[in-house]
């Protein structure tokens, strides 16, 4: 006798959120990246705990640029949100629009980030404090830059490339990763800019 | 193109790698045989005879340079020359060297000593160690390959490590 069958041909060819494997890929990636940020922050706390004064022999970083960047980052969540929504409605026009807006923000805080490094008041090779704040800031910048590049490529794809279901999923995952970059910034900001003032 | 880069890198390594990494614990023949006539200044009577460029045996050897660095403070060279910045003795980071900055000249400066305070270490420091000091002194003015120069030491960081110094001027005759 012929075995019974489950026909899956009617199932959709794409899905969003935790239904899609892209989402889980992104989630695993964030787990790892998050673990790295956690390790760096743990190192920061460890070194802080071993130092009698903090920051040791230097002025705390200037608040202005870092705070400005925090504001910009948080603001960027908005176009990001619209992009995500548009992607999940398969609304190509709006998706293109909002991706561009998000990109502008992205370039914006990469630029501001340059001033942040200059406002740290310490060099990476001055002492362990300098090393860890430079590394924290640098590691987050790395994420900023890669994510901006990522979005740029995706946006370009949406304009010129052959369109596929996956691109909408990618766009929505890209937005998710963007949130991740924004959220990881908050603890990093707290430790780089606020912790030296509390100590 | 990318693959090319990697291949070139790998091909370059044997040249760099081997010489940089060898640990020559035994004294080398090159080190024991000292250049016979050492020119202290470029001024010579009659027509100038270009002195042949002379390589110090540890010039590209990380171990030799690191040992030189250890001895530099062990023998209290930094007492007068500081970390190359100079003090009682002349600075070693610049290129205007009273008695020449080529390896053989540095060698004889250390072993024979110089007027106004530079003691002669000849009989007291084995030739091997003098050559190691030569290599380190060269690293202070970035006359050794950067990848062989010492990194920062586990101490108060007074200044950039030798491997990160910026060269002050085109390499002197001392280096090939």
């Amino acid at each position: 006798m012929t075995p019974k069958a489950i026909d899956v041909s009617r199932l959709p060819a794409y899905a969003f959120g935790h239904r899609s494997i892209m989402w889980w890929g992104g989630a695993s990636l964030m787990l790892m990246e998050g673990a790295m940020f956690a390790m760096l922050i743990v190192s920061y706390i460890y070194l802080k705990g071993r130092s009698p004064e903090w920051p040791p022999g230097y002025f705390a970083p200037v608040l202005f640029w870092g705070t400005l960047n925090t504001v910009v980052l948080l603001a960027s969540a908005l176009p990001n949100h619209f992009a995500k929504a548009a992607a999940e409605r398969l609304d190509l026009r709006r998706l293109q629009l909002w991706m561009c807006v998000a990109l502008v923000f992205g370039v914006g805080f990469v630029v501001i980030r340059v001033f942040e490094f200059r406002s740290l008041n310490v060099w990476w090779d001055s002492n362990a404090y300098g090393s860890v704040v430079w590394t924290l800031l640098g590691f987050h910048t790395l994420h900023l830059v890669t994510d901006v590049l990522d979005s740029a490529v995706l946006t370009a794809l949406l304009f010129v490339g052959p369109l596929q279901e996956s691109h909408f999923t990618d766009a929505s995952e890209n937005a998710l990763y963007w949130y991740f970059v924004v959220i990881t910034w908050l603890p990093v900001y707290a430790f780089i800019y606020l912790a030296p003032r509390l100590a | 193109m990318i693959r090319g880069v990697t291949i070139v890198l790998l091909a370059a390594l044997p040249l760099a790698g081997c010489e940089r990494e060898t640990r020559r614990y035994q004294e080398l023949p090159a080190a024991s045989s000292r250049p016979s006539s050492t020119q202290v200044s470029d001024l010579v009577p009659g027509l100038p005879t270009p002195s042949p460029p002379f390589l110090s045996p540890y010039q590209e050897n990380a171990y030799g340079i690191a040992e030189g660095k250890r001895l530099y403070s062990a023998f209290n060279c930094n007492g007068c020359h500081a970390m190359g910045g100079g003090g009682i003795g002349p600075a070693l980071m610049d290129y205007k060297w009273i008695y020449g900055s080529s390896p053989d000249q540095i060698y004889s400066t250390i072993s024979q000593g110089r007027p106004n305070g530079m003691p002669a270490f000849g009989g007291r420091v084995p030739t091997q160690q003098i050559w190691q000091l030569v290599a380190y002194v060269q690293s202070l003015s970035v006359q050794v390959p950067r990848d062989a120069g010492p990194g920062r030491d586990d101490d108060m960081s007074a200044r950039k490590s030798e491997s990160r110094l910026d060269r002050m001027l085109p390499r002197t005759t001392g280096h090939r």
Binding site: - | R23, Y25, Q26, F75, G123, R124, V125, P126, Q129, D154
Partner: protein
Amino acid sequence: MPAIFQSALHPAGPQAASISHLWWLMFWTCSAVYVIVIAALLVAISRRRMDTRPSDGTLRTSVVTAAGITVVILFGLLFASVATGRAVASLGAAEALVIDITGHQWWWDVTYENPTPSLQVKTANELHIPVGRQIRIQLKSSDVIHSFWVPNLHGKMDLIPGRQNLLWLQADKPGVYRGQCAEYCGVQHANMALTVVAESSDDFERWIMAQRQPAPPPSTPEQQHGLQIVERGPCAMCHNVTGTVAGGRTAPDLTHVATRSTIAAGTAPNTRGYLAGWIADPQHMKPGAKMPSTGLSAEELQAVLAYLETLR
């Protein structure tokens, strides 16, 4: 050279003794567990008659029981371990003998602390300790991480740059106990040993008095020549000989080198032959050691040896 022990199984002091008790407890318990489990395994695989297949209920009960017993045993061992830890830690004493030990690549710099600096004693690679007295050992490192370990007396403790670690020792019976660096510290990690001589307090007093003396002046002309070479030659750049102008600080103190049982941090016995070989060509005996080959002539070498032998 007296017979040398370096074994955790032959404790010669209270700390090592309580640790070895813990060891034997663990050994017998774990052996028993191993035998039982493997026996159960063998029975399990050798059963042929399948009609007596146990029900899952039976299996569940036995697995749960086994797990329960495991937990109980483990708690027992945990308790024993913590108890031993406390016992060993509580062995510190107020009027202890304080010894500073600084690790170098690859030798041990030993200083007997004393409130009056002139009474301090500097030596290397060999400790003398009075039997039955608590020794407070303060461990520092001048370069990389080393680990101080004399198994017959106590477990190991690391020497870490920028920190000071403490170790309390006591020897109950006289003897020579060998120790060795137990943290990989570079090319000659294998040849970084030290000797601990435990002796009666009288012998110890005699020894430390002798160590406080400066080096005796050389008598024979050969010895005097030797001293000249030591002072004017390469030796003085690194080595110190109290009472002479040889004041180097980067290598072992030689003031009483002739009283020590080994050279080059336990690499070889301290005999004229080995000493000659060591000075003539250190890199052959201990490749990578910081001592360079000095290129002394045979005649100079003999003179130096003659002088060093007077440093008792």
